[in-house]
Symmetry: C2
Subunit: 415 residues, 2 copies
């Protein structure tokens, strides 16, 4: 018999719907020495920039006397100034007040704090679907929120309309989980697209009109390499976000530093920052790591050249993979940002169902040893979509995986 | 008008009832150059061991390739092995399985995870009062638990009986907040006492009999210097804790590393560890800090001599301060562990009320520039108690504070 609470029992499960497969794929990964290993395209991690960062991290790591003691749990004053300077320079384009910034143990922890502070247990956030799988945990596991999808379709290039927001809001109300927030990932995971300036403006206006908090997760803000322009909500609002607009940033994606556990909240809502202050004790970053990351962020010339180099690598990989997949006749969303190509294999499904999608996904995994993030895990409303994360493996592995995908598709087409 | 949720609005307050006073005292602290500054005895921090640790931390800090990427959020396998080895050697005395250990961003975050996993919102934990102020936040702010005090009295040396546990359990039930856990701080904050072996055994038995989880916060396990023997629940149970007994440890107190944000959960309850695994993503420690702290913990000779030296310092300070206070006729609990002397000034109160205690506390702060943790903040059931934390200031400041206390008391007695 369980000794846990009901909510505790709800936590006894895999952290992701494809966790087991991902563990298998990572423990037997393809390499030049293991040509029969798996190619794991399911992890949104960027391992391309590790080499250029490691020495810099060593240089920035300094033991300082004040590391040892209690300090502001949402980030030391110096660290928050360094973050503010970094955001100013690379994203916002205007002055960022360090008192509007909080640093915590990853963007997931940041979103969890917002969930608690802005919503009751049993309320909801609206979110354009397909969406990043992890949002379910960030808002649901402890804060107890539901995520209510806003419809968007591939045929409209996954754009969002005012009507789809209104519809989702009404649906949330009907389902007894009233919406308090709209959660937007921009640049968008899993599509790799960026929302247009007018789309962002529309969403901001809609939030303000409806007194719904707009949370803009911009964790990929500095991983933009394609044709779409990235329009940060901080710029679209002229850095005058007011009480209903908040932005999230982090180091896990743009710097490939997921092991350092660094996320930032940028909000001008004072009352909210006070509620964040109270919670930040439960997800604080070690002062040692604050010093290291603060040193990194405040070296403007390094940051500028790092971001440039990183995006050149992403563009190179993305262009190469996209070209091969498209040459193989595979339907892909052309990405502008992030580490993924969102692709469609519905032509190979027996039926237009989640079960068929799952079966196809498992066949590719078992027969070709290629692992995608499946569309059902991203709450895709259309079946047959898969997220292919290309930056967590090296280029050889990426190309091997690409060949396997195309061979798999061709073999299926012949049947 | 507030834009936050009800629970968010509940977070808009100071993190401690004496936060403002503590900030004032710290920003104008007594020193040889500032002889008119405040002596802040309200912070349970140990700054005595900083000098012996700093070089060791520098030596242990290494940038390793796998710092950069996602890993087990409750601690890398290597780190959890290092923690297990440290606990084995210094506390448990028997083999600790690393899979029973979780490392997260501070013991507060650890207790918060247990609160979510073991209790529903609106349920409660029983706790011997007076108790550490921060427990209210750890269990209440986000998990939504009530803390229901078990009575204990100075005249019985703050011991706990089976009857007081039964009473508290019934009271919790009556108040509509049924108890799911018993939260014990051992060594005890704020009294500085250790529970006897038979007391710990009684509490373990009571928990098992009542199917109530016993959470033993042993964050001061290696800060024991006095006459009481410390009886870790891990030893009392012969390291066979079962599903209903769990222990917490950390680096903030025994190593004075509160800025590193390191707490450990030790539990043999597999289902609970699974629920912790899910939550650990929201309070993970940076891999950089895991490597540094792991290196420190696995150097057994260093650890042994550090703990010995640290406890000699604590004993020296505690003995000196206690002697002076007692010579001044001030009633003190004789501590065996931790950084505090729990002392009683009720003789100076106008009435036996919380208001009188508060007034006395503020007089000492305003007139003598000495700040204690007040008894009301520790939910003391008897008025007039104060926690005097002696290890966050240097010995000169401690003695200056001591003189001021005695002068204050003597002046009041003459009136």
């Amino acid at each position: 018999m369980s000794t846990l609470s009901r909510r505790g029992r709800g936590m006894v499960k895999d952290i992701l719907p494809y966790f087991k497969e991902s563990m298998i794929a990572s423990s037997d990964a393809f390499s030049s020495e293991n040509s029969d290993g798996y190619v794991n395209f399911s992890i949104a991690e960027n391992r391309q920039c590790a080499a250029s960062l490691r020495q810099k991290l060593v240089d920035c790591a300094q033991e300082e006397p004040d590391h040892l003691f209690y300090d502001d749990m949402k980030g030391k004053e110096k660290f928050r100034s360094q973050i503010a300077g970094y955001l100013e320079r690379t994203v916002v384009g205007r002055k960022v007040d360090p008192s509007h910034v909080c640093a915590s143990s990853g963007v997931g922890a940041c979103l969890e704090m917002l969930s608690f502070a802005l919503c009751e247990d049993g309320e909801s956030m609206l979110i354009p679907a397909p969406y990043y799988t992890g949002f379910d945990n960030d808002t649901g596991i402890r804060p107890g929120l539901a995520l209510v999808p806003c419809e968007r379709r591939a045929e409209n290039n996954f754009s969002i309309t005012r009507e789809s927001l209104d519809d989702a809001k009404k649906r949330a109300e009907r389902e007894g989980t009233p919406a308090r927030c709209l959660l937007i990932s921009n640049p968008d995971n899993p599509t790799g697209l960026c929302f247009s300036e007018s789309d962002v403006q529309m969403m901001v206006d809609w939030c303000r009109d409806n007194k719904i908090h707009g949370i803009f997760d911009e964790i990929y803000a500095n991983s933009v390499y394609g044709n779409d322009e990235f329009n940060s909500v901080t710029r679209v609002t002229g850095n005058d976000m007011g009480d209903y607009v908040h932005a999230l940033f982090g180091m896990s994606k743009d710097f490939g530093l997921s092991g350092y556990r660094i996320g930032f909240i940028y909000t001008q809502n004072k009352e909210l920052m006070s509620a964040i202050n109270m919670q930040s004790y439960f997800c604080a970053i070690s002062c040692q790591t604050q010093t290291t990351i603060g040193g990194l962020l405040s070296d403007a010339p390094f940051i500028d050249s790092f971001i440039k180099e990183n995006n050149e690598k992403l563009k190179h990989l993305s262009t190469k993979l996209l070209g091969e997949l498209q040459a193989g006749g595979i339907r892909c969303v052309v990405p502008s940002a992030g580490f993924f190509i969102f692709l469609n294999l519905s032509e190979l499904m027996e039926e237009d169902t989640v079960e068929s999608e799952k079966k196809l996904w498992m066949s590719l995994f078992n027969e070709s040893k290629v692992l995608f993030t499946p569309g059902f895990a991203c709450h895709s409303q259309e079946n047959g979509w898969f997220r292919c994360c290309f930056a967590a493996v090296d280029e050889d592995a990426m190309m091997e995986g690409c060949r396997r995908i195309i061979d798999f598709v061709n073999a299926r087409r012949r049947h």
